[in-house]
């Protein structure tokens, strides 16, 4: 692999995390130079490794598109923690690490002998990050935490749907999975900085449920203030009209339009060749437009349907009206803006071939994220980690291989 510099060069993270939350959190460190060593086992593979889609539709632990999309730059150490000799290897890894991360149901690490108190004995200034579904204690702590369940627990579907129908899940089923990694990564970097300055490690405990609630605080406050629960309002917005998703030419093609001011409304009317609406008493003020929102939506739909969603977006944007293509996965894959900003990394993977790995959501001007290596095959770096990082002799390593520790 390419050993280019990075912000976190030299930093080592023992990552026991799995599913989506684990890798997304690690990604912030791995992409900026940390050596993130993912501890995993084929005895109980990560749920992502056994999730579709697979390369050529052939299942296999190293062939999942889901797993391989999210795990670039990460090392894989195969270690079966149920094996009696695994703990000694894990402790050697901890001794070399700055951070231990995990997002298991609380108790798993403790059962393995890797609770925070044990880790401290091995590495006094270790930072441990726990990030389970509901936090490490409390009556729900042992609850399974699928993303869709967490989203419902946090109330997100209350904000999605039509007045005449029931609540709907967020379209990205594991939506909450991308929320806690951000809070966790910010806290972890602060903890590393704190350790560098004070010599003190610490335990950080996050709950995916709790961090998700940070995405709905205004609605909580509104309930406290007025007793009003959220209602389903389709695509409308109390402060804008028109504000919706409009049909465009083609199969299931749509464009959003959101008008927040008189000026934007006038621009829109000019664009669609209906300048007379600007002063029409039905539409001349925000309140009149709100009153006649249904009529406005019909008028606009009658215009947008004649164009592709890209054409609607381009024309509206040229006229200074906020509008955008409702992009599907294929559109995102080819999005010129996201491509220019390197959201996706095409990396050669031994099983996947040239395959799109996720990059970073932002750009740092001096220390950009680097695509150093593709997602790991399960156990790909076991020998490297054991001999080069943990300092095992070849003999020791071979003996442990023989004992079946690295499965």
């Amino acid at each position: 692999m390419n050993e280019k510099g990075g912000v976190f060069n030299g930093l080592k993270i023992a990552a026991f995390g799995w599913a989506v939350v684990g890798p997304l959190t690690m990604k912030y460190f791995a992409d900026y130079g940390a050596t993130v060593i993912r501890v995993e086992t084929s005895k109980r593979p990560c749920t992502m490794r056994i999730s579709a889609p697979y390369k050529d539709d052939k299942p296999g632990l190293d062939r999942s598109g889901y797993f391989n999309h999210f795990n670039a730059n990460i090392f894989s150490l195969a270690l079966n923690m149920e094996h009696p000799r695994a703990l000694e290897v894990a402790k050697r890894l901890v001794a070399e690490s700055d951070v231990v991360m995990e997002n298991f149901t609380p108790g798993v690490m403790e059962r393995w002998g890797l609770g925070y108190e044990e880790l401290k004995k091995v590495k006094p200034d270790i930072i441990k990050l726990r990030q389970s579904g509901f936090g490490s204690w409390g009556s729900y702590a042992q609850q399974p935490a699928f993303g869709m369940i967490l989203a419902a627990m946090a109330g997100l579907p209350n904000f999605i749907g039509w007045p005449d129908r029931g609540p709907l899940p967020v379209g990205v089923s594991a939506y909450t999975d991308c929320i806690s990694p951000r809070f966790a990564a910010a806290a972890l970097i602060a903890a590393l900085d704190y350790r560098n300055k004070t010599g003190k490690g610490q335990l950080l405990d996050l709950s995916q449920f709790e961090t998700t609630l940070y995405f709905i605080i205004p609605a909580i406050l509104e309930y406290i203030s007025s007793g009003r629960e959220p209602s389903r309002i389709g695509n409308s917005c109390p402060y804008a009209v028109p504000h919706s998703v409009y049909p465009c030419k083609g199969d299931d093609r749509w464009c959003t339009i959101a008008v927040f001011s008189d000026e934007q409304w006038a621009n829109l009317c000019q664009l669609i060749g209906r300048a007379e609406y600007i002063d029409d008493p039905q539409f001349d003020t925000f309140l009149n437009r709100k009153r006649n929102e249904g009529e406005i939506d019909r008028l606009i739909s009658g215009w947008t349907i004649n164009f592709t969603s890209e054409e609607v977006m381009n024309q509206m944007q040229s006229a200074g009206v906020p509008a955008g293509v409702v992009k599907n996965a294929a559109d995102i894959y080819d999005d010129p803006q996201l491509r220019q900003r390197n959201l996706f990394w095409a990396l050669n993977h031994p099983d996947m071939g040239l395959f799109t790995h996720l990059g970073q959501g932002f750009e740092l001007s001096k220390t950009p994220a680097q695509a150093r290596m593709p997602s790991p095959r399960l156990g790909e770096h076991t020998e490297y980690v054991c001999t080069k990082i943990l300092g095992m002799t070849d003999q020791e390593f071979v003996e442990l291989v023989g004992a079946g520790v690295f499965e």
Partner: protein, 408 residues
């Protein structure tokens, strides 16, 4: 943990969360607003439904733990004062249109000349470069451009938004991480830099398996409403109960067997499971390839069972059995939630001007070293002018003049 760090937060609602996260981690975050208050204060909902710049709940939500000053940074005198403040700062967070800071003569090279190692975090809808850079947007537009909107909604209707803005929160949280990475680098090397956040990109960052599914299988994930589509069937995920809705998706095989087993036993104990449900070998049921007929036969008694119970009964039953079923929480449910209470999640914060206390989330992380609590409410307009301008040597007399001339 970030005690001793200072951030100048010049953002509007697109960037509030970034500074909030840094403030919760201990940084001194100073919200810099234009004289008279930031336009984002006009954003509802409002306390007691009274539209007023000191009553915006959106402002309250994401500006607690920050202090606040007013400053006209477009005026020369205002710029001078800002530069003085920058000398005391580690981070500048802004969400102006791309190029605006440059046009004020406050581009990164100027800023880093004033304070070596300064970190400038810019949050914009599409980022500082690229073909969409100058596009106008709002939450529904950005969510559409990020891929989430298309996948959300009923198949027989247009895609539907999440009515509470989300793109600004993905971007704000991502900005906090980007800022911290830049900070770590600065602490190691002394070098500052720019952090360029795109709301579209931060939101598109996580689309679960949609991108690999397109690349490997040529399939575009579509919206499925309250259902999940599999090879031969559609399966309900949102169910009605006596007083609300329940979320439960039918996972097959080993992963889902426990929930199915426990649910059927639960139903059985109330005489609501039928022979069919009891006879299924859940371990070997492949829910991904089952036929619609099987799905319907499984669903019907479950539907009846949920309908005969309240949200509270279902929540408690699921917790007792540690199974993956949960009711949709209302805001009231969340404020009374047993788990959140056990973790001391909510905290009451004084709002003396409103003669009340308001409940907020206390902290997003529990640290064994440092408390990361929400400590005080969002600032009033210019609340800390005297305090903070005093620190950079402005006298009260000078402040009176600056106020009269519209600088602060």
């Amino acid at each position: 943990m970030l005690n001793g760090c200072r951030a100048l937060d010049l953002t509007d609602e697109n960037g509030f969360l970034c500074g909030k996260i840094l403030a919760d981690l201990g940084a001194d975050v100073v919200k810099v607003e234009r004289p008279g208050g930031d336009p984002s204060r006009r954003r509802g909902p409002f306390w007691a439904d009274i539209p007023h710049p000191e009553k915006s709940l959106y402002w309250f939500a994401y500006n607690s733990n920050k202090r606040g000053i007013t400053l006209n940074i477009e005026a020369n005198k205002g710029k001078e004062i800002l530069k003085e403040l920058i000398r005391t700062a580690d981070f500048i967070i802004e969400s102006f249109s791309p190029g605006f800071m440059d046009s004020l003569g406050l581009g990164y090279s100027v800023l880093s000349g004033i304070k070596k190692g300064i970190i400038l975090t810019s949050i914009t809808p599409f980022g500082q470069s690229g073909p969409y850079r100058d596009y106008q947007t709002s939450d529904i537009v950005t969510m559409g451009m990020s891929g989430i909107l298309y996948q959300t909604g009923d198949p027989d209707r247009p895609p539907v938004q999440m009515s509470l803005p989300q793109a600004c929160l993905h971007a704000g949280a991502d900005a906090a991480v980007g800022t911290m990475i830049a900070y770590y680098h600065r602490e190691m090397t002394g070098e500052g830099q720019q952090v360029d956040i795109s709301m579209q990109q931060s939101t598109a960052w996580f689309l679960a398996n949609a991108i690999p599914l397109w690349e490997l299988s040529g399939l575009v994930l579509k919206r499925a409403g309250a259902f999940r589509w599999t090879v031969n069937s559609t399966q309900r995920q949102v169910w009605q109960c006596k007083d609300g809705y329940v979320f439960f998706f039918m996972v097959g095989g080993r992963a889902g067997a426990k929930t199915f087993h426990e649910l059927v036993n639960w139903m059985d104990s109330e005489g609501m499971a039928n022979e069919y449900l009891r006879s299924i070998d859940w371990e070997n049921l492949d829910m991904f390839n089952v036929t619609q007929e099987v799905v319907d036969q499984i669903s019907k008694p479950i539907e009846e069972f949920f309908l005969s119970h309240t949200k509270r009964e279902i929540a408690q039953g699921a917790i007792d059995r540690q199974i993956s079923i949960c009711p949709l929480s209302s805001m009231e449910d969340l404020l009374n939630d047993a788990q959140l209470k056990a973790r001391n999640f909510w905290v009451e914060i004084e709002h003396p001007e409103l003669d009340t206390k308001i409940t907020y989330p206390r902290e997003f992380v529990k640290s064994s070293e440092k408390v990361c609590d929400t400590r005080f409410r969002a600032p009033l307009i210019g609340e800390h002018n005297e305090e903070i301008y005093g620190e950079v040597g402005l006298s009260k007399k000078e402040l009176v003049i600056l106020k009269k001339t519209g600088i602060i």
